[in-house]
Symmetry: D2
Subunit: 135 residues, 4 copies
Amino acid sequence: MSTLPLDHLPELLRQSPYHRLLGLEMITVAPDEVVVRMPFRADLVAGDDEAGQYIHGGAIASLIDTAGDFAVIAAVGRDVPTIDLRVDYLRAAPKGDLLATARTRKAGRSLAVADVEVTDEAGRLVAIGRGVFKT
Amino acid sequence: MSTLPLDHLPELLRQSPYHRLLGLEMITVAPDEVVVRMPFRADLVAGDDEAGQYIHGGAIASLIDTAGDFAVIAAVGRDVPTIDLRVDYLRAAPKGDLLATARTRKAGRSLAVADVEVTDEAGRLVAIGRGVFKT
Amino acid sequence: MSTLPLDHLPELLRQSPYHRLLGLEMITVAPDEVVVRMPFRADLVAGDDEAGQYIHGGAIASLIDTAGDFAVIAAVGRDVPTIDLRVDYLRAAPKGDLLATARTRKAGRSLAVADVEVTDEAGRLVAIGRGVFKT
Amino acid sequence: MSTLPLDHLPELLRQSPYHRLLGLEMITVAPDEVVVRMPFRADLVAGDDEAGQYIHGGAIASLIDTAGDFAVIAAVGRDVPTIDLRVDYLRAAPKGDLLATARTRKAGRSLAVADVEVTDEAGRLVAIGRGVFKT
């Protein structure tokens, strides 16, 4: 219940075995916005043939869940579980780093809502997501 | 475009580096339902403290995306990209194997919709998901 | 906060001006499932040209929200606000009555989740929906 | 298939019996953004007791579906069916006019995605929505 200082959030993110598995790292953190990067790794790729040479949608969903979660953590000062998550894939994500920018749209007593945008190295929007979190 | 025989689907699933990263494996496959397992691994866990000892929601979202995708592949006979994905987390998923059962609700000329249910080792429902895929 | 008896639910549904505007009526109610009908009315139609001769998606979303809400009311015994709602339109809904069958998938202390299926007069599935409600 | 001029959109919106039932009217229209108003009417209210004195979530979902749809129509120049719709209710919408501002996030050859924000008369955000449309 005690408030988490913002400068502790990058370490909190790294403490998760799953975040380390995907290589997620926090780039910037502010009360109203966080940026999380998923550096390119060969094992995030969807398929091993030519048609599958893009980042797997599940990895992108994981990035969105994490970035949204940390946007809410930054806003409310404590860890929060995800209630539901939605992801819209706008284009295939080419092999390369992905950047998720997450903003809290609501931070109420019982619920929070965060919006997340994911861009590729060329700055193109590859996916957008929205999550509800229990505060 | 050529039809994929059902017995090729377990291998198709394993061909994805991302599926191998998470350890996903196909258990059963039929034209109207597939079951995918995510065996427990320590690196799927959300946090390293006591409060984080459950499977990360991003891993569950990945499992749901994959199972839904393969339900549609089983129905239409070719690989299909995800258009959008939604996940409802019903309870924290305890450390252990997770099983995703996916069924195609619609398989049209341009779009398909799949429903996915995820259960833990005790058979309790931990999450439900729904995805739209481009056929 | 007092528990609502199940046989009061049809009247509770009719008490809403918006439900009366759309003509919604409760057909059956049980602790785990409710059925709500939206009888055909010309003013539920999407367009006035030939291409628009189907029930408007907003009317279907309203039917799904209401049926899901009442499934949760039947389960928890009091009125509950909708947190979020999702609707997948599987086929154009022809002019005619629509029937929504709603089931509670989770009814927890703070949240409930309901699934809704909408069928046309021929029994074909025209839409599926899912909602999260604050209990 | 022929392109719809933007100045025809307010009339196209009024041609829908369902839009007239709810009283929807187009306020502004541009290739990248449309604004639709739902003027207050007593029959849009959720309940007839004190606790129900807010705009029904189904009416708000209808407003979001319509505004998103017309944002895509403005972008692609022809009528488009909704594939799926999601609504997050951020606060109870007080009795009064609601304004939906919709923007197209993607307008591809087969699919479009639109984001919608709904504000009350005080300018507060009451709901946000996202829809996928078939282009």
